[in-house]
């Protein structure tokens, strides 16, 4: 479709995008600016966006102020990666089964999964604590990985299932006629075709896992060396003052892994990998 926008429509579109971007990015910009200010200047009145005393000192000092910082960042990344791996291993076969096989209770099972998601982790935290306690998993990485995976699986199944549903049934039938078994077909035909979907699910799971670990870490883990960054940031608190500039610096550095994962995987999110499979 060829559609030329008038000048006013263009101005309207761009200002809407600008408003949206400002809304989303302003906190990051302010966080970055705070991280550049010396602690005395953070609450300066009147407010100054740029000032002469800006410095990267916080990015250097934070490592010595909180010696475990690198470990916390690693933990965050490690836990989120394990959660993602575990979740994907569960999501793919489950979603495939939901999308392809017909059995009793399939739809109610799917609804049940989504209902659990609605209840949310916060409500279930006490029963989960008891569960972790009786399994003897408290104060270990597992106590953060297992619930993390459990709560990302339902959404993942739902996303992955809708992706599988979009893969034409003829592809499997063709493979079946060619003599391939179910597993061979899944491995050689369906998964490669579903790769963009798998990447999307991986990214969303990773981001969710990275963001949600705070609750599990705070509740199930008491060991400092296993804490993720979200809990570790509290080390900057509670002395005579809060080192806001270093908190911001550490937070920004902490978001880097997510950014790196995203940059690394986003080239696989390409529409049209199924192009040429079937005529639509």
């Amino acid at each position: 479709m060829i559609h030329k926008y008038t000048l006013w429509e263009k101005i309207g579109l761009y200002s809407a995008i600008a408003v949206f971007l400002i809304f989303v990015l302003a906190p990051f910009a302010e966080a970055f600016m705070v991280s550049l200010r010396p602690i005395e200047s953070v609450f300066r009145v009147p407010y100054q966006f740029f000032s002469d005393d800006m410095t990267f000192a916080a990015y250097v000092d934070m490592w010595s102020e909180v010696p475990g910082l690198a470990r916390y960042i690693f933990n965050s990344f490690f836990i989120a990666a394990c959660v993602t791996l575990l979740a994907i291993v569960c999501i793919i076969p489950a979603a495939y089964s939901f999308s392809r096989f017909d059995y009793r209770g399939r739809n109610s099972l799917l609804t049940a999964f989504l209902a659990i998601n609605m209840v949310g982790a916060a409500v279930l935290i006490i029963p989960l604590y008891k569960l972790m306690f009786s399994l003897g998993l408290l104060n270990s990485y597992w106590s953060m990985i297992l619930p993390g995976a459990a709560f990302t699986v339902p959404t993942g199944i739902f996303l992955m299932r809708s992706y599988f549903l979009r893969i034409p049934k003829e592809l499997e039938e063709a493979a079946y006629v060619d003599g391939a078994g179910r597993l061979y077909t899944l491995w050689r035909v369906i998964l490669p075709v579903a790769l963009p979907g798998i990447v999307v699910v991986t990214i969303t799971t990773f981001i969710t896992a990275y963001a949600q670990q705070f609750l599990f870490a705070l509740t199930f883990n008491g060991k400092d060396e296993y804490h993720p960054l979200t809990v570790g940031l509290y080390q900057f608190f509670g002395r005579e003052r809060i080192l806001w500039n270093q908190v911001m610096a550490a937070s920004l550095v902490g978001t880097l892994p997510v950014l790196i994962v995203y940059v690394f995987l986003q080239k696989y999110i390409v529409a049209g990998l199924t192009a040429g499979a079937v005529k639509e």
Binding site: P168, A174, V177, D178, G179, V193, L273, A277
Partner: protein, 371 residues
């Protein structure tokens, strides 16, 4: 080898019986075409032969072996899908090689077989491309390549050309006929396009509502349709049907009176017809010619399509029955100006009130010699 035999095959989905008890034999090396309107069960029939759909009742035999419970590969069939169903992440080479990879064929053998298939289908220069980079016709050839590389005894085609444009379809039709002549395997082909059926088939099976209406070679179906449905389905444009009344029955045929009062003697077997019966007169558009003759009717043209080599005239009789006439390319016919159309009574068909045909006197032996 590839003789296919269906005995009493039925298929029900829930309570709906989509295939009614069917018996059919397709001989080794035949090019058989299932044809019928959408929803007639032709694809279901093919999928049952392929092993993608379970048979509710009856048996399917290939080369004398009951294959009801065997997977497709063990039946010795391969199939080309309407949507091609190519693996988009694999090269053309790997697509064609897929059945061999599944069977763990040694690489040297794979190379040889894939190259041979590519030669037959003129895909040599495309082997390293992905399906996404190919045109519709090439994709269809890849799908065919994947089917022939395994050298099955029966090929199944599920409307393989319906996604191609008209020119390419005509080209692929010729290629498929050539392929059949070259390979000599049994081919079973499903289509709703009667031109594909007529041009390629050794044997056409016309289906309606899950039942075989007629099975036979194309010219038999064209000249001796068993009933009005087959007569209307085979041939393009479709046969004209005019209500007539039988006024005389004898050795020479049945004399009928049309709505304009003229009486015509149609040379058909008069079996089961009595004077006064209401019948249907069937005349193909190509058998109607503008001009006076012993049998004919006045027509008022409504729409005139000039195709260059011929003129297709959509007209109405005086009482409003639509009639189509295929006339010469430079015939002087204009909408709204009445013409007369004549036909040879020997070319006409007669159908009883229950739609069954009265047997025509056609020298089928002479026609069979043409095939």
């Amino acid at each position: 080898m590839g003789q296919l035999k269906l005995s009493g095959v039925t298929k029900t989905f829930g309570k709906a019986q989509v295939i009614r008890p069917t018996d059919l034999v397709i001989e080794d090396g035949d090019f058989a075409v299932f044809v019928g309107p959408s929803g007639c069960g032709k694809s279901t029939m093919l999928r049952m032969i392929a092993g993608l759909e379970e048979v509710t009742d009856g048996t399917i035999e290939i080369d004398g072996r009951v294959v009801n419970d065997l997977p497709p590969v063990k039946r010795g069939i391969s199939m080309v899908f309407q949507s091609y169903a190519l693996y988009p992440h694999m090269s053309v080479y790997e697509n064609i090689a897929f059945p061999l990879r599944v069977a763990r064929t040694p690489q040297a053998e794979v190379d040889k077989l894939v190259n041979r298939a590519a030669d037959v289908l003129q895909l040599q220069s495309r082997l390293q491309h992905r399906p996404g980079a190919l045109s519709g016709g090439q994709r269809q050839r890849v799908a065919i390549g994947r089917a022939i590389v395994r050298e099955p005894s029966v090929f199944l085609f599920d409307e393989p050309l319906s996604n191609l444009d008209a020119a390419l379809r005509a080209e692929m039709r010729v290629e498929l006929s050539r392929l059949h002549a070259q390979l000599g395997n049994t081919m079973i082909y499903v289509t709703h396009d009667q031109i594909e059926a007529m041009t390629m088939a050794d044997k056409i099976i016309v289906l309606r509502d899950g039942m075989i209406e007629q099975a036979g070679d194309p010219l038999t179906l064209y000249h001796q349709p068993r009933n009005r449905f087959v007569a209307g389905f085979i041939g393009n444009p479709t046969m004209n049907f005019l209500p007539v009344t039988a006024t005389g029955v004898g050795e020479g045929g049945v004399t009928v009176r049309g709505e304009d009062g003229a009486e015509i003697l149609i040379p058909v077997s008069a079996e089961g017809v009595r004077t006064g019966d209401t019948l249907s007169l069937g005349v193909r558009p190509d058998d109607l010619h503008p001009g006076e003759g012993e049998a004919g009717m006045p027509l008022v043209p409504d729409v005139v399509e000039r195709l260059g080599n011929q003129t297709v005239v959509y007209a109405n009789t005086r009482s409003g029955t639509p009639v189509c006439v295929v006339a010469g390319g430079s015939e002087d016919v204009r909408p709204g100006r009445e013409i007369r159309a004549r036909f040879d009574p020997a070319d006409a068909h007669l159908f009883r009130a229950d739609d069954t045909a009265l047997a025509r006197r056609v020298d089928l032996a002479r026609l069979a010699a043409l095939a």
